[in-house]
């Protein structure tokens, strides 16, 4: 297994997304409109919006983040996967490259949605360092589990709803951690327990993805 192959694969994945703009042009605006509609539905109650803002942000990231992993990838579709397989690229390497590029894109999604949340909901901005770490942990776990779920549902009919159905319940710890870190910052509580929990979640998910990559591709065709 040659880990140096991850880099050209990630570069190709990101370049393809940069060209197609699937995430930038559809997922992000869709998610932003979700934040806006939720705020309107809750009502123009400023203190209430301020309190629910972070929860809304992470709920939206969780729900819409799955779409990032459903985009057209370089190594995720059967014929391209076969080309890579015949080039001797290990399925584990292919999975790592897909999960890593999804994580990068999810960080991009979060980076756009955070200012949108700040503008619409005006949440208290404290403990930003811990929140940034939490955001990275969410992106890693969501990117990895989403990629795994996308592989599990490859070429099935209802995969656009199956992937979120698999991902959402299992990534609950990540959302709870992100929200609690923000809430804890307001009361000066330590973020560490929650960051550790999110990290533990990520480790389990990434391990599962690494172990599943080979058996999954064995039956990809």
């Amino acid at each position: 297994m040659n880990a140096s192959l991850v880099r050209p694969l990630v570069r190709a994945e990101l370049r393809a997304e940069f060209r197609a703009g699937e995430v930038v042009m559809t997922t992000i605006p869709f998610a932003a409109s979700g934040l806006l509609v939720a705020a309107i539905a809750i009502g123009a109650d400023t203190p209430l919006l301020r309190r629910v803002g972070p929860g809304m942000l992470w709920t939206i990231v969780l729900l819409f983040g799955s779409f990032v992993t459903l985009r057209r990838t370089v190594s995720g579709e059967p014929t391209r996967q076969e080309v890579l397989t015949l080039l001797g690229v290990d399925p584990v390497i292919q999975w790592v490259a897909r999960a890593a590029s999804s994580t990068v894109l999810l960080l991009g999604v979060i980076a756009v949605l955070v200012p949108v949340t700040v503008v619409i909901y005006d949440p208290p901005l404290t403990g930003l360092a811990a929140q940034a770490v939490a955001a990275v942990l969410v992106a890693v776990g969501l990117g990895a589990l989403g990629t795994l779920a996308a592989d599990l549902t490859a070429s099935t009919r209802s995969r656009t709803s199956l992937v979120p159905l698999i991902v959402t319940p299992l990534t609950l710890p990540l959302v709870l951690a992100a929200v609690q870190v923000q809430e804890g910052a307001v009361y000066a509580a330590s973020p560490w327990p929650w960051l550790l929990l999110a990290a533990l979640t990520d480790v389990t998910i990434v391990l599962a993805g690494l172990l599943a990559a080979r058996p999954l591709q064995e039956g990809a065709v």
Binding site: L5, P8, L9, A12, R15, A16, E17, R19, A20, R72, V74, T79, R80, E82, V83, L84, T85, L86, L87, G88, V89, D90, V221
Partner: protein, 205 residues
Amino acid sequence: MRIGRTRVLAGLDVTVAAGEVVGVTGPNGSGKSTLLRVLATLRRPSRGSLDILGRSWPDVSSPDVRRQIVLVGHDPGLHPDLTLAENLELVAALSGLSPASARRALADVGLAAAADRPARACSEGMRRRSGLARALLCRPRLLLLDEPHASLDAASRPLVAAVADQVKARGGAVVVVTHDLDGAAGHLDRVLRLEGGRLTAEGCA
């Protein structure tokens, strides 16, 4: 050989020698493409054995065997949002070759001017040719072509023969699935005819 619960190939005994170009022909649905995928180690035969380059199951699916096989199917496996050059440069990078060699291969199949066009903007024939460029780039010891003449214009048909000859000259083996025996004649050392998943005829072209 079955796919899911469907039987596709049965009682097939085929040997392809090094330095040989073998044609496979037969009506639609006769299992030609499935045969190619079995030879490419992408499908494991449910019964029977498969030896490639002196290795047998499960050894044939190891990366060092697979790296010596190129399969150019109906869908050449291009990412539609990447240009032809970027698609082939990825293949080059993953095989430890230079980006320049990818562009050279594209030029060899007459796509130098189209290299920077996204694959989605290319015609079926151009994408087919870029598949042949991949075969030139990777220099396989086993080349598997699935109906390479389809969608190619008359001028670029000799390209298939040229690519096959190149592999043959290096001592590699080529299997070509084709409906166009006239077009491929002269380059095939042997022709197999598949009908309904069984071998019905074998002879010289």
